[in-house]
Every structure is written in C-alpha cells, then in structure tokens.
C-alpha cells in the first residue's frame, strides 16, 4: 500500500474543518495546518483563473519532489486533499470514498453544524479503516 502522509478537508470558505496526520516526519502544529489549508484554497482558486481554456475546476494533482497532493472538490465547494508519496495510485478513488463517508457520517449528523470542524467519532473510525484498507476494493464500488 502506498504511504499516505496526511488528509485535509476544508470548507467552501477555505477554513480547515478536518486534519489527520498518518505519519509525516515533519510535525505540523495546528496553526501551520490551518495556514496550509487556507493557502491551498487560494492556490486552487488562482489556478482556475490562469487556465488557458474555459471550464477549469482547479488543481487536481500537485507533484513535488517528495510527495503528491491529490485534491477533490465537491459541487458545493468542500475540498478534500490527501498528501501521499509520489506515484501513489487510486488516490482519486480514496477521495471519492472519503466524500461518501463525509456525507454519511457528517452531513447526516443532526448535531453537526455546517462549516464547523468535524468531530464525529464514526467518521474517524471509518476513515481510519478506509485508509488502511487495500485500495483495490475501491475500484469495485
């Protein structure tokens, strides 16, 4: 299984509502993860503005020397992005699955307020299982 370093979920305003670290060597504190998430929100918007053809939906994959960043944006503007090792496969399927978990365990939670940080125990449990599971099972969904 490819290494997944961290997962972020940001709301449509760019605020960080979920952050999970799965083993980065460089520890990021809470303030840094908030800043990184907000910066990614801005970069995503600017990349749409610089597109040479119309219909651009923003950055889907950022490739760096030591990691890849895969991003999925839902129709309502919530962004899910995962930092993985370079060349990791099936990250798009994983992000779609995280989106399903988000809709099932967060949005259907009557105690969850929109745009607020996610503190749902069932979401955490299922997300941990999904990240550790073999990704091939995602292809059959």
């Amino acid at each position: 299984m490819a290494a997944i370093y961290s997962l972020y979920i940001i709301n449509k305003s760019g605020g960080l509502i979920y952050y999970k670290d799965y083993g980065s060597a460089g520890r990021m504190d809470t303030n840094d993860s908030l800043r990184v998430a907000s910066l990614w929100h801005s970069m995503h918007a600017i990349s749409q503005q610089l597109s040479p053809v119309s219909g651009c939906l923003g950055i889907e994959l950022l490739q760096a020397d030591t990691f890849d960043l895969h991003c999925f944006q839902s129709l309502t503007g919530t962004k899910f992005f995962v930092v993985s090792e370079p060349g990791a496969q099936h990250m798009e399927s994983l992000l779609k699955f995280v989106y399903e978990l988000y809709t099932d365990y967060v949005l259907k939670n009557p105690f969850y307020e929109m745009e607020m940080p996610i503190r749902c125990e069932l979401f955490d449990i299922n997300l941990t299982q999904a990240v550790q599971k073999d990704h091939v099972t995602f292809l059959g969904r």
């Binding site: 370093y5 961290s6 083993g23 980065s24 060597a25 460089g26 520890r27 990021m28 840094d32 800043r35 990184v36 910066l39 990614w40 801005s42 970069m43 600017i46 990349s47 749409q48 503005q49 610089l50 597109s51 040479p52 053809v53 119309s54 219909g55 651009c56 939906l57 923003g58 950055i59 889907e60 994959l61 950022l62 490739q63 760096a64 020397d65 030591t66 990691f67 960043l69 930092v83």
Partner: protein, 170 residues
C-alpha cells in the same frame, strides 16, 4: 581553432512525447519576478491583462513553492514560517500540477530563473524538456552580448528555436 562554428547544444533533446501542437503558453521569470518572456500558442480564454496575468502567475508559483516546502512530509527539520523567502533549490519544490483543463510544468535554475510551460492535461513528465529549454535560453539569450540581464527577451533566434521545440514535445 574554430571560433564561429555552431556549438552543439547538450544535452540532446528528449524524444517527443506526443504529436501535434498542444502547448498553450510559456513564461520565463527571473529571480525578482520580472517576466522575461511570454510565448503564447493556444490560449482561447483570457481573464486578465498581460501584466496582471504575469504577476498572478509569479505569485502562484512563489506561494506553491512555499507551500510544498512547508508541507514536505519526509523532512523533519524546522521549516520556518510560510511565505519565508527561500533560496532556489532549498527545500522540497514542486515540478508540475494538473487540472482538468491544463498541466503546468515548472523548473527553477540555481540562479533563480523560472521556466513555466502550460500544456494539455495528458502531457507526460516534462522535467527533461524544461532543462533543454533552459539550455536553449543559455545558448541564445545569455550568450548574446546584446542582451541585458533582467530585461525582456527579444531574441528572434531563441523564439524560433523554442517554438520549433515546443511543437515537437507537446
């Protein structure tokens, strides 16, 4: 000794990855963010005027470089604050990003020259191609005694060779 012979440019160009002209545009910036070159081959959508577009592109690249250096998950050293100015080659840098409509490939030389090539999203890895373009820049621009460093590039030979090469790779 032959002083005025045509020098062989090395490394040799990588094999073309696709046929047809799918390059959109190319930028070259220097260390201070001045846009030295803007070449456009296929750009139907235009949201800003030229100067603002160049500034926005440089700002995007600067921030993305800062973001990737901060987000580097394999380095345990203290990385400093976001947005802190970094030397070229220092820290983890990105080399490309992909959207549903285009792919942007990026290269920065140790002297701070940034080369950006925007192509269609299914383009493969262009890092070797950008290195070759940098060699073209060195051969036709830096070695041109009429060129002043920091000023926009107006070398017709460089433009012609660049267009010819980009048509072959993208």
């Amino acid at each position: 000794m032959q002083f005025f012979g045509v020098s062989e440019i090395s490394p040799s160009p990588p094999a073309p990855t696709a046929s047809g002209n799918n390059g959109h545009m190319m930028y070259v910036f220097n260390r201070n963010g001045v846009c030295l070159l803007y070449r456009e081959w296929n750009r139907p959508l235009r949201t800003l005027d030229a100067q603002q577009d160049h500034k926005l592109m440089f700002g995007l690249l600067f921030s993305l470089k800062s973001l990737t250096a901060k987000m580097d998950p394999t380095s345990a050293v203290e990385k400093g604050n976001l947005g802190m100015l970094q030397l070229p080659g220092q820290g983890c840098s990105f080399h490309s990003f992909c959207t549903n409509t285009y792919k942007l490939s990026f290269m920065e030389s140790p002297s701070g020259i940034k080369i950006i090539l925007v192509t269609h999203p299914r383009t493969g890895d262009l890092r070797e191609s950008l290195k070759y373009i940098y060699n073209l820049y060195v051969e036709y621009v830096v070695k041109n005694p009429l060129y002043t460093p920091g000023s926009p590039i107006r070398c017709e030979l460089f433009n012609t060779t660049l267009d010819q090469y980009v048509r072959g790779i993208a």
